[in-house]
Every structure is written in structure tokens, then in C-alpha cells.
Symmetry: C2
């Protein structure tokens, strides 16, 4: 007998029919002798419907009232799912975040979980009940309803799994796992059996929107085995494990786990800026001040003189405003230099804990790109990731070439087996 925490997102509970299908799935686990806690989101579209009404009434609603409003979305789903389980003869009880004792701080709309009281929940489980919990929400010390922010249902699931010491937290989504890269770009992309928390974090922040970063961090911190699988088809999904587990058998692990990419950034360069202390903050200060997030930053060492080039990337949506700040604030402040910019770029990243212990990943990456005549504009590295900026129109070619070269193609692995 195992204890599973199963989280179903908005699409998975998006209609009465889908809620019934979730009940069937949960019943299957229970029939096999397992204990199940189910965490659900609001039915898809519901949260946006509620926010729409709020915005018609007040363009700046207070966060407390927003939480009061949107938390009704999950409350609807938990009661409907409990009813669906009852219909199948499965004893089940639904709880709001407040009722189940998910205590948070008072940072409305982005609250953080402080502790979870599990006594009553454990008693229900021991009593043979399936417990259905509203994701995304909690309660602060004064009894105000709080929410954890968009995607917070994943966090609720992981936090409950940690508090209950569950055997696994299963996140059901509309994809059947984490892939080596986006199958829409590379037809030979394949589902990963397992991936480390660290790799998942790099892939998530690079645009693989399978899981919320916070939930993955949480799972890593509390050593909760996390599995991503499909609500709509059977299959083992992808298991996300803490690094320690991973390193034990790292000999067998592939060098690279996945390739992330995005065409949603733009690159800006300040040429011939004075190479003196504090210049970076004089460039980036006004940009941060405008709430623009900077992703990659590269500064070349000044070769001889007192001048250097400073390059960074921002989201494409912030491109024009950033350009304006550089021209109208930064350049006049520095007194010299020149701005060059390009919004037809793409970022491609190799991610893998295996590269930690292997030299040569970067040089192999550069060679593969060179063989395809792809020019590298910018490079940035971390312990388990190498990112390059290239021309946008070469992005897909780069992803496919690297996917093959690093042995990720479906056929390659099937041959190895």
C-alpha cells in the first residue's frame, strides 16, 4: 500500500465529463489498495471568468478580495469531484485550503505555505476516505483566505506530499511527461523516464511549462518524489528525483537530459562603454527600475584599452522600452558608447547534470553548430547548462542537430536498448 498525492490541473477537471474521468482514475488507485489525496485546480476558464468580473468592477482590486474571489474556483471543483467519487461508491471528503489547515503568510495572491496540519487528513485516510483538497489556496493567521499565485496547485500537491510523507506526488497534466525537447520542433524528441530536480528547474525556467518552478524547488527541498503524467492517457510519465538519488548511478545517466529553446528574447549591446567599476549597474539600474527582467548578461574583458562591450538579453515584449532607456538615459549618463540591438535571435540551451563531470560538452556543442554553419552570438554557462544565442531563423536547425549529436534522438536510444 502506498500513499499518493495526485494533482489534477484545470484542463484535467475542465468539464463535468473530465471530473468523472478523474474520479475513475482515482478509484483505480484506491481499488489497488492505495491511499489517495487528490489536489485539484479550478475548472479551466473559471479563474479567468472570475478575474474578468473583478476587473469590470475595479481595475485595482485589493489582493485580499481577489483571493476571496478566485478561491471559489477550486472549491467548486473539490465538491464536484467528491460527488463524482461518491457516485462510484468511493468514500470521499472535500476540504478547502482553510479547512485542511494549509497555513500561509498574509501575502495575498502570492502567499507562501508555512505549515500544514495533517492530523485530520491522516485520520480521514486511515478511515478509508479519499481526501479531496482545493489547490492553490490557504489561510493566514487571521483566518483570511490566501492564494499561492498561479500554478500554486502544484505547490499544494508537493507540500501535502511532504507533510504526509507520501510515497509520490503525481502531477497530472495534458502532456505525458517531460521531453528531451519540444516534439513540435524535433520529431525525434522523447519522453524522459527520470530527470533531476536541478535539470527540471533549468528546463522549466527556460520555457518547458510542464511544472511550476516553485513546486519543483519544494519537491527538491523536501525530497518528495515527483511524477509528471498525462490525465488523458496511461503511461509512466517522468519521475523527477532529488539530485542525490541521481548521482548514485550517474554512470548510467546521459550527458545531456534535454534541450530548451526560446525565440522570445532580444539582445542589446552597448559598444565601447568605459571599463570602470560600477558601469554595469549604471547600465542595468534604469532597466531594473522599469521592472524589466534581464536574462543573459555577457561582458567581454577589455582587450587592451579602457573600453568594453556589454551585452544582455530581455524578453521581446520589453525590447522597445529597453532600447529607449538605453538611448535616452544610459547613453547620456555614460557620456559615450553606442547601442546595437537585435530582436531576431533565439536562445538554445543544453541541460544535464551529466555535464558537471564531463569536460567537452561546450566544445562539442560549438562544433555541431559550426558544422551547420550556425553563428554563435553569445554564450553563457552554468554548472549544468550551456546556452547560446543564435539567429532566430536557425533555431530549429540547431535544436535538431544538437538533439541528434548528443544522442537524444528516439531511434538512437532504441538502438542502444
Amino acid at each position: 500500500m502506498a500513499l499518493y498525492v495526485q494533482k489534477f490541473g484545470g484542463t484535467s477537471v475542465g468539464s463535468v465529463e473530465r471530473i468523472k474521468a478523474v474520479a475513475e482514475k482515482v478509484k483505480g488507485f484506491r481499488d489497488n489498495g492505495h491511499q489517495v489525496v487528490v489536489v485539484v485546480s479550478a475548472m479551466s476558464g473559471e479563474t479567468n471568468r472570475l478575474i474578468g468580473m473583478a476587473n469590470e468592477i475595479n481595475d485595482e482590486p485589493t489582493p485580499r478580495e481577489m483571493d476571496m474571489l478566485v478561491s471559489t474556483g477550486e472549491q467548486v471543483t473539490i465538491s464536484l469531484l467528491a460527488m463524482a467519487l461518491h457516485k462510484l461508491g468511493v468514500p470521499a471528503t472535500s476540504y478547502t485550503g482553510s479547512q485542511v489547515g494549509i497555513q500561509t503568510d498574509s501575502a495575498h495572491t502570492k502567499a507562501r505555505i508555512q505549515r500544514i496540519e495533517t492530523d485530520e487528513l491522516q485520520a480521514d485516510l486511515d478511515d478509508g476516505q479519499v481526501v479531496v483538497v482545493a489547490g492553490f489556496q490557504g489561510v493566514d493567521e487571521e483566518g483570511n483566505i490566501t492564494t499561492l499565485g498561479r500554478g500554486g496547485s502544484d505547490t499544494t500537491g508537493v507540500a501535502l506530499a511532504a507533510a504526509l510523507k507520501a510515497d509520490e506526488c503525481q502531477i497530472y497534466t495534458d502532456v505525458d511527461g517531460v521531453y528531451t525537447t519540444d516534439p513540435r520542433v524535433c520529431s525525434k524528441a522523447q519522453r524522459l523516464e527520470r530527470i533531476t530536480v536541478e535539470e527540471m528547474l533549468e528546463l522549466a525556467s527556460l520555457g518547458s511549462k510542464v511544472l511550476q518552478i516553485r513546486a519543483v524547488e519544494f519537491a527538491g527541498k523536501y525530497n518528495v518524489p515527483l511524477r509528471v503524467l498525462s490525465s488523458f492517457q496511461d503511461g509512466p510519465g517522468t519521475l523527477i528525483v532529488a539530485d542525490s538519488d541521481q548521482e548514485e548511478d550517474s554512470m548510467e545517466e546521459p550527458l545531456i537530459s534535454g534541450i530548451a529553446f526560446t525565440a522570445n528574447e532580444a539582445k542589446l549591446t552597448l559598444l565601447n562603454t568605459p571599463d570602470v567599476p560600477g558601469v554595469a549597474s549604471r547600465i542595468l539600474g534604469p532597466i531594473a527600475g522599469a521592472n524589466i527582467e534581464v536574462d543573459m548578461i555577457v561582458q567581454n574583458v577589455a582587450p587592451a584599452g579602457d573600453y568594453t562591450d556589454f551585452t544582455f538579453t530581455v524578453a521581446k515584449g520589453d525590447y522597445k522600452q529597453t532600447l529607449k532607456i538605453l538611448n535616452e538615459q544610459v547613453l547620456p549618463d555614460l557620456g559615450e558608447g553606442e547601442v546595437k540591438s537585435d530582436d531576431n535571435i533565439a536562445k538554445v540551451s543544453l541541460v544535464g547534470v551529466g555535464m558537471r563531470s564531463h569536460a567537452g560538452v561546450a566544445s562539442k556543442m560549438f562544433r555541431v553548430l559550426a558544422e551547420e554553419s550556425i553563428n554563435i552570438r553569445m554564450v553563457s554557462t552554468s554548472e549544468i547548462k550551456i546556452s547560446v544565442v543564435i539567429d532566430e531563423k536557425q533555431m530549429e536547425l540547431a535544436v535538431r542537430a544538437l538533439h541528434k549529436a548528443f544522442g537524444l534522438d528516439k531511434a538512437d536510444i532504441e538502438n542502444e536498448e
Copy 2:
């Protein structure tokens, strides 16, 4: 400075625009220096939408999960109304029934309020806040969400007014008060300035659906001044007062306050039934057993022999089933008798505390009806009410004739003034 509890029903908060209009109204009272607690229902249509989803999933949902589900309706409204008040610069805080401490028993879907904790609420009021409370819902001792049953928002309003010792509980509806009779039938019907709780109870149970009976009983019991008024137009509405207040100046009160009527009943008679003890229960027992509610009951005293006639009315929807029970169960059991029935009847009732101390109301009523050649089929009386059953097609004629004869017509009273 007065303290008002104001309750707005589903139609009054049925859209974003109407919620804004309610906020304006509340602001008006607050601008005049009053303290305001607002109780709201779910937006019209919302509760039915939720119940519809539930029924698609489970034809017999558990009452606990139904309460969990439908209580979200009011929670949406309280947060939207608080946002609308904020937009107008009015400080406001919303509370669910659970948060505000409306403690009920555990009779899900028809819970009764046991006590209300007012400390926090009073503190908010003293702090200058408008307090917005979800109607219709509470919480039991174990923390389960309960609901008070349909129309329970009126009860929430009255209970809060009683607990807070409010100066008045104002129930905003889509009519501008309680009328002497239905204006659609009698164009000279007029709004009553005031009415007693007792009269209101008789009128409500007879089909004037302005207020929930429970709320009126509650107001009477705790001596809460209750005012019915329109959400959509200004006006003083109708004040519903405890009988004691009323009797002080009963000299000035009219004999009859209002005329209720319904064409929604059917009449059944058992002719020539044995006039022996226990026969009434042998007739009504099987009917009650089928959960059919009986309204009027008349049994004629047997003139000489050992036989009597037993007549009663039921709702038209139960007519056919009742007839079947009489013919297939009751008659065979009694061994003799004959069934006569009529579903083309109407019941017309005069209501007024004034008739307590005045003889002759009944005889005047009968005379007025006779003058219109209206045949009376059945009569039943209480201390403050006389009901007659007549032919359905004569109902409107009877109402108009009685309305005029008892001095209720608009012009008459205007002439008196």
C-alpha cells in the same frame, strides 16, 4: 447614527452593473453617517448553474458536498461587492459565513443558526468599515460549511441584525414593498406602510413571496424591525413590526391588511364516510405517507346519521397522486364512501390583525361574494385570517370586490388622507 443590516438578493446583485448599483446605495447610507452591514446572495442564476453541474455528476449528491459547492456563489458576490465599494472609496471587508462566525447545527442544506460571534464584526464597524457578509451560509462545530436552505440570506440578515442589535434590517428585493394584494390582479392594490409579523406570516404562507417565512419568524422572535424595499427605486418600502408595537395604536389600524389568493390548489372530498373516531387519520395518513402536504381541512358535523363529508385541499401538482391514493387505498380501507374532486378552484384569504377584535368580517366577506354571485365551496378561519375556496374563474373578481369593500383600494385611502 444608526446601524443597518441590508440584505440584497440574487436579482439585486445579478450582474456586475447591479453590484455597482448596490455599492452606490450602501455608500449613500454610509455618507449619511450610518454603519452598514451588507448581506448578499449569490448572483441570480449562479446557484442553479452549480446545482446543474452537481446533478450531471451525481443524482443524489451528499448534502455536505452540496453546501461546499453552492456556498461559493455568495463568496463570489461578497468579494465583488467589496471591490465595488473600494472603487467608490468606501473601506469594506468581506467575510464568508464561516469567517464571520455564523455557527449552525450540522443539518446540511437546511442548517439552523445557533449563534453569531459579533466581536470582530463590531470592531470592523467601529473602525469605519462596511462589512459584507455572505448570506445563506454558516459553519458547524466541526468546521464544515453549511447552508440555511433557499432564501436563507434573509435569515442571515435578520440574525445578524438581532445579534448586532441593529436599528433595522432592510431586505432589498425586486418589489418596492408588501402590497394589499397582487397589483397584477387588482390595479388598485397599494403598498402597505407597515404590517405586523403575524400578518406577514399569513401573507407569506399564502403565496406573497416577498420574504422567507423563517426570516419573518426570526424577526418577530428577536423583535428586529424589518423593512422590505426595492433595490431598483427609492422609497420607504414596508416596515414589518412585532405585534406588540402594532397593538399600541391598533385603533388606527385597518381591519384588513391584505388579500392573498392562489389558484394552485385542488379540492378533494370523501362523501359519506363513516363518522367514527380515527377516520380522519385513516384518510390523511396515506397521503402524508406519500409526502403530500395538505392545506385546508374541513369536516362537516354529521347532521343526523353516522356519516359525514371530509374535504381537504392539496397543491395542484399533487392532485392526481392524491386522487389515486384515495381511490386505491383509502376507499378500500374505509369500505364505503365516494370521492368527489375539483382542481378548478381558487383560495382567497383576508388577513389582518384588526379582525381579532372585530366581529363581522366573515359575514361581510360572504355578503360581498354573494353580491357578485360567487359561490363559496369551503371556508376556513384562523385568528387573523379567513380563507374561502371558490371557482377558479371567479378568483380575480372576488379579489377586486373584496379589495374595494374592505377599503383597501388606492383611491379610497387617498381620499381619506
